[in-house]
Amino acid sequence: MIAIGITVALTELLGSFGLSGGLLSVITYTILAAGTFGLLSVLALFLVWWERKVAGHMQQRFGPMRNGWHGWYQTLMDGLKLLQKEDILVATRDKVVFFWAPVMCCIAAFAAYIVIPFGDGLIVADLNIGVLYIMAITTFTVIALLMAGWGSNNKYALLGGMRSAAQVVSYEVPMVASILVVVLYAGSLSTVDIVNSQSGNFLNWNIFRLPFGPIAFITFLIAAVAEANRTPFDLAEAEQELVAGFNIEYSGMKFAMFFLAEFINLFTVSAITVILFLGGWHGFAFIPTFVWFFMKTFAIVFLLIMVRWTYPRMRVDQLMEFAWKVLVPITFLNIIVAAIFKHFGWYWEL
C-alpha cells in the first residue's frame, strides 16, 4: 500500500547517473537532509508569524502588520536582524558549554524529522524503532537547556536549566506511557507502521479506536506541551520569574537558534500527536496525503497556541505533582486496561 518512498526514488534517480555504494547513500541523505532542513526552517518562520498573529487576534490587536500582507515576512526580517546583532559573550561563561548549547538544541530539534512521515512515502528513513528514536532524540533538548543554564554562569539561567531538566524528565514518563498504548495496538515502533495501522475510516484513528484512546491522547498532549516548554508549562523561561530563564545570556544568532528550536519542537510534538493518534497522513483519497498531514498538524499547533495564550503558568512544585500524582497513575492504568482489552480483542478493526 505504500507508494514508492521518496528515499528509494531518490536513490534510484541518483543510481541512474552511475553513482553507487557508500557515495550514493551519502549524497542521497545529504540532499534529503538539506531538503528537510529547508522545509523546517521555512516552517519555523511561518509558525513564529502564525503564533504572533493568533496571539494578536486573541488579544484584540493585529500582530505583525508592516512587512508585506499582514506582515507575512516579519519573521524573516527578525531573523535578519538577529543575524546582524552583536554576539554578546559573558566573560565568566563556560566557553565550550556556552557555545555548543544552542547547536545541540537545534540538532535535537531537527534530528527527530528523520522518522516523521510527512505523507505516504515522504519519510527520510523508516526506522523500525522510530518512536523510540523520537523519544530519545527529543530528550537531547534537555541536555541543551541544562548546558545553556550552566554555561551562562547566571543564576536565573541555572534555575531555568534545572527546572527544564526536572520537568522534561518527569513528563517523559507519562508521555512514553501514553505512546505505549498506541504501540501495543500497532504492534510496531515504526512510525510508518503505526500510521498504516490507522488506515481507512477515521474511526480507525487511534484516538477513537483504542479503548480509552481519548485519555491517552489528552495525557500525551499535556506531556507534549510540557516537553515543548510552552505555557502553562514554560517554567524554563518563565519571564516573570526568571526573566528569560536558560537563554537569558544569549543574543544574536545563538538566541535565534534557541528560538528556532522551540518552534520546531512545537511542530514536532504536534506531528507526533498526529502520527500516533490522528491517523497521520490518512484522509479522503482526493487530497494528497501530505496535505492531510499538514492540515492535522496545524490544527494541533493552533490548539497549542490557543492554550499558550489562555492559561496562567503553573508553579514548579505543582508541575511535578501533576506529573507524578495525576498523569503517571492515569497513563499506567490506561496501559493495563488497554492490555486487557487487547488480550480479549475488545476493539474494532475496520
Binding site: Q59, R61, T231, A238, E239, E241, Y311, P312, R315, V316
Partner: protein, 367 residues
Amino acid sequence: MSDLRTEEYDLNMGPHHPSTHGVCRLLLTMDGERVVKVVPYIGYLHRAIEKICENRSYAMCIPMLDRFEYVTSMSCNQVFSLAAERLAGIEVPERAEYLRVIMLELNRIASHLIFFGTTAMDIGALTPFLYALREREDIIDLFEMTCGQRLTYNYIRIGGVSKDIPEEFTPRCRKTIANITEKVEEYKRLLNGNPIWKMRTIGIGKLDADLALAYGASGPILRASGVDYDLRRDDPYSIYDRFDFNIPIYHNGDVYDRYMIRLDEIQESCKIVGQALDSIVEGPIKAKVSPNFKPPAGETYTRIENSRGEMGVHLVSDGSKKPFRLKARGGSYPHLQLLPEIATNCMIADLVAIFASFDVILPEVDR
C-alpha cells in the same frame, strides 16, 4: 555516604526585572527554588517630590504630585487640593464635587484594571493584560476629552476642577461603565474557573488582619484580610456620603482575595459613577481662589481612599505662598514592607504573585 552539601545563594531580583513593576530591587536569599529571605531595596526612583514642593506655590505642587503616584493621578490632585482647601477654608462648588467623584472613581477603575492585567501577567497569563488595557483605554479617552491629559491630569485644582466636562462626556461615560461592569464578569469567567489560576492564588501569601494592621496596611489589602475599613465611608470627604455603594470584604487575605476584591471594587465604583452622573447638578466648577494663594499658617493631615489604600498629605503652612512642609503618604510603602513578612519560605513564583497582588507602585514608594 557523606551528606550532600547544599548552599543558600543570593539572587538579585531587579532593579530591572519584568515583575517588579518599576525599579525595585529585591535581594533574595534562595535555597534552590525556595525564597528564604527577602530584603527590598528602594530609592531607585527618588525624585525628591516633597522637597521640590517646598519651593513651589500651592498651584504648582499639583502637577508635581501628579508624578507621585502616576497610576491614580486624580487621587494625588484631590488629596493635595483637599488639604489646601481645609487649610484655607475654601468651600468647593457642588458641581465640582460631583466632577471630582466621577473622576476619582474612574481613575480607581483604571488603576484596578491595571492591577488585574499585571497580576494575571505575573502569574503567566498574558492575554488578560491586553483585555484590561482595552477597557482602561476608554477611561483614559474620557480623561483626555475632559482635561487633555492621559496620565498626569492636573485636573482637580484648589477650589474645584480645571475644566467642565464636554457635552459628549456623559453618554460616553455611561456606555463605558456599562461596558466595564459587563467585562468584569467576563474577567471572572476567564480566570476564576481556571484550576491553574486557583492553584496559583488560593492560599498563597496569607496575610492576617493583625499583621496587616500592625504594618499600617490599608485599602484593598486590608479589606481582603477581613478588616472593614474604607475612608470613603469611615472618614468621609467630598460628597461620598450621598452615594449608595457597598464596600467588598474578603476574609482569607490571600492572593486570590486581593484579586477578587479589586474586581468587586471596580463594579462598585461603576455604580458610584452612574449615580453621580444621574444626580449631578449645574453650577460653577471652581471657587474663587486668588492666583496668589496664601493659606493661613497651620497644618493638616488629609487622607483619602486611593486604589492602593490610604493616601494622605501632611501639609504645613507658614502663611507664605509656598508650603512649609509637605509629607505625602502612599499606600504602597507599608505594603512593600509587608513583603518580607509574608513572602519568606515560599517559592520564587509565589513571591512574584504576592508582589503583584500588593499592587505596589514604586514611584510612590520612592517619592
